[in-house]
Symmetry: C2
Subunit: 312 residues, 2 copies
């Protein structure tokens, strides 16, 4: 069950009230691929890097089963670089720099075996690029799309075109509201269903995630961390854990059930909590299956509650 991921493989420079990352490896596809590697042996990356990108990280991805034939390396180019500064609350953040570099003019190429991928994770990028990649996949079984408010502002028509073609949309609560004009999330989710996606995952960061499918709803809290070092990449880790888990279930059972979806949201949430505990990808790189399973047990206890006893 191969997973194909589109997204940035890049550098981040992150400032928080508690420290600075320096220039570290980041990018949506880096987080997604690391998370996916826990669940499937075969995955494909579609991205672009400059000459400055470290071979060591690429070797780590290859070692985890990622085919990098769809990773364009631009001679003399510089990799995409994002720099941001988190507020005191470790939630709000200001962008200090967005150096698109090699992203400018990049035309994504899916390699031959990537064409046959079953699960497709379209990380947050220009909807035109997302469409170009989806057009190159022959018969995907499940497509997950991540996007953000920026594309709603500047490329709404193309965004709606790609939304119409995916199975799962992941957005945050404000984005769900902006996209639909509905404030209350059950209504916003229903409006998104009507645009195409059967399943809608609304990410609320430190407040957890809500998933809607038809009239079903599931809520996954965020793991309450003692300390958040750097939330960058948490949403991408979540997405990678989510689609990776679904791919592994499909491999085992030939389908993706609502139960699988619920478990996928919880495992994504738990994996994202590890990303928050260190700068960049380092928390996720160090993560083992045992760590994930141990915290998942703790996580499910968070909401475990016996039946009410009503007074006579």
């Amino acid at each position: 069950m191969a997973v194909l991921t589109l997204g940035t493989v890049a550098f981040d420079t992150i400032e928080t009230p508690f420290g600075n990352s320096g220039k570290v490896v980041g990018g949506a596809a880096s987080y997604i691929a690391l998370a996916v590697s826990h669940f499937v042996r075969k995955q494909h990356l579609v991205s672009v890097i400059g000459e400055d990108f470290p071979q060591a990280f690429l070797s780590e991805l290859s070692g985890r089963g990622a085919c990098l034939n769809g990773l364009t390396r631009v001679e003399g180019g510089e990799s995409f670089h994002w720099s941001g500064k988190y507020h005191e609350d470790m939630v709000g953040r200001d962008t200090l720099a967005t150096d698109l570099n090699v992203l400018i003019g990049w035309e994504p190429r899916v390699c031959k075996s990537g064409n046959n991928a079953d699960f497709v994770m379209l990380g947050n990028l220009d909807p035109t690029v997302q469409l170009a990649v989806l057009d190159q996949v022959a018969a995907p079984k499940l497509v997950v799309l991540d996007t953000m408010n920026f594309w709603m502002d500047v490329a709404l028509d193309n965004l709606k075109n790609i939304i119409a073609r995916v199975d799962v949309l992941t957005v945050n609560d404000e984005e769900a509201r902006q996209l639909t004009g509905e404030h209350f999330l059950p209504k916003a989710a229903r409006a998104i269903h009507a645009m195409g996606p059967k399943t809608v995952v609304i990410k609320k960061g430190e407040h957890g995630a809500l998933m809607f499918q038809d009239e079903k709803v599931f809520f996954a809290p965020a793991f309450p961390l003692e300390k958040v070092v750097d939330p960058t990449g948490a949403g991408d880790t979540f997405a990678g854990g989510f689609i990776g888990y679904l791919a592994s279930r499909h491999e085992a059972t030939g389908e993706v059930s609502w139960e699988d979806m619920k478990q996928a949201v919880t495992v994504g949430s738990v994996m994202a909590s590890f990303t928050c505990e260190a700068f960049g990808t380092s928390g996720l790189q160090a993560l083992t299956a045992e760590d994930t399973l141990r915290r998942w047990e703790e996580y499910t206890q968070l909401t475990a509650c016996g039946p009410l006893v009503w007074p006579a």
Copy 2:
């Protein structure tokens, strides 16, 4: 198992982007007492009203088992009145008027049988008033305190005095942060434990509630409503359901366990969702045990998830 509640019995005038309540019955103790009445036959109210307060609502409270001997009625006085306007998001709000009226100079009197109350709910009010009431209860088994940022700004010393004497503190996330100087909630909860309360409930409104006790933690989501008509009183309904349920469990078993506390948080959350669906107390007044139990079943399904299946 008698519950004694201190809080306002008052009028609210509420504006939302979707409608206006006109002048309706409100006040923390009104919501708390209505919620408590689902769980115990005997409760005491300590509050103050003016001559303008409707007898019909008092009769409803009496009919639900509330002793009103501690309810001072000021001849010629006007009841406390709060007026506010909710923002588009139905979360933020601006206060338009706070007419203290009969609250000014009021000295709370607990009646003779109220002196022996077992469970005490100190609704949000001046900590001096909360202290005066607690001093009049002989040997409470469990005391819950609600407060807000305003008292942290203007009466921090007295607030700390009352916090030191209670078993459970309920505050929202920003208030927990302000009170302790700790941003991350597990740390803030630990700092509050150190001030006295064994149990801390952090209310996050539409994002649910986190409860901490020693090193244990429990999370209760908010029920995802199709539409919020008026969130006023949701926190008080939550508190009333919480302490009412605990009182009923203590009556049945002679103790209050962590399991009881978890169930109390969930039933409080579910009852609060009914308050949000109508202006003022009307949603709560119409609520039956069957409604609560039915929604509670739906509510527990929100987070119900089978075990992860890790790929081989």
